[in-house]
Symmetry: C2
Subunit: 185 residues, 2 copies
């Protein structure tokens, strides 16, 4: 089974949701370590209803919008638990920036500087969001049993993004030395 199935099962194990909401939650909460597209989510939901892992709770109950709310079935819960206990498969990381960095002596200094600045801005923003999210979760005290897990995932994001930011500062110096030479002229 592809991973999309399990992300959906996991989210529906917390509460029933629409496909659109699933996408939103992944984009916000899982942003820094997971991604799904609509072209992946909707067909998967359809297949999951057919296989009996989830079912359609109700169609457009309170508002007139064309919406389907999905809920996990006992079979879905069982499949989710089985997946959780299975070894983690190879992680997928592809950082194009590092590739460009590696061959960076062939590139223009300005181009590399702008790549690094974009990376820095993106991950500073990620870190800011994670910090805010961490505060939020901490305030709501541990009534929810999955609280420590959520905080641990946030902690991962914070640590990794801090590492990214520490690296980028050092990396920028490799390209700023030329600026100093220019200024000295």
């Amino acid at each position: 089974m592809k991973k999309t199935t399990y992300v959906i099962l996991g989210l529906l194990s917390e509460a029933p949701m629409t496909g659109y909401q699933i996408k939103q939650v992944i984009d916000i909460r899982f942003k820094f370590f997971w991604r799904e597209s609509y072209g992946q989510i909707f067909p998967t939901l359809k297949a999951m209803v057919e296989s009996g892992d989830i079912n359609i709770l109700d169609i457009a109950p309170q508002n007139n919008r064309a919406q389907k709310t999905y809920a996990i079935t006992p079979q879905g819960t069982a499949n989710l638990k089985t997946w959780l206990s299975m070894p983690v498969e190879t992680e997928m990381v592809r950082l194009e920036l590092l590739l460009k960095m590696y061959f960076g002596n062939l590139a223009d200094r300005e181009a590399m500087q702008s790549h690094l600045a974009a990376f820095q801005a993106a991950h500073q923003s990620d870190l800011d969001q994670l910090n805010a999210f961490s505060d939020e979760v901490t305030k709501l005290l541990d009534q929810d049993e999955n609280h420590p897990m959520v905080l641990s995932v946030i902690d991962f994001g914070q640590k990794v993004n801090r590492a990214y930011l520490a690296w980028v500062e050092a990396a920028q110096k490799l390209f700023s030395e030329g600026d100093e030479a220019d200024a000295a002229k």
Copy 2:
């Protein structure tokens, strides 16, 4: 153009190589941020020869093994430089472990512990290799002009893997508390 093209161009810009060697170099040097399969490399090489980005230097010159050594062409160099100056596209990160962690309260404690232990072992090994590689590169002093770039990429790997290892230690405590309770009985 897909990214595989540019990894190949980058590597061939350093020295001519066979497809097999390209795969090896990616597996060793780019391990922690990039991956390619043979099913990706060989057809791409074929297409790149057709498009004129690379050419076949010679077929099995010194030994009788069926091997093709590829070299970059001026057109290939130009395309590589163009790519290097273009904005970095969205990075792709998918960490199944974090997903399992997020839904970790539904899983068995033992299963989660073993997931974390595997993650720890893998990234400790990555860090060890990066440390060794860093020493090696530092020793060979900066005769090569791309030296600082290589060290920067290694530095990235070290920082990120240290962050991973710091996180996993904290995460393990979430599951070891139960052990202490068991031991106290």
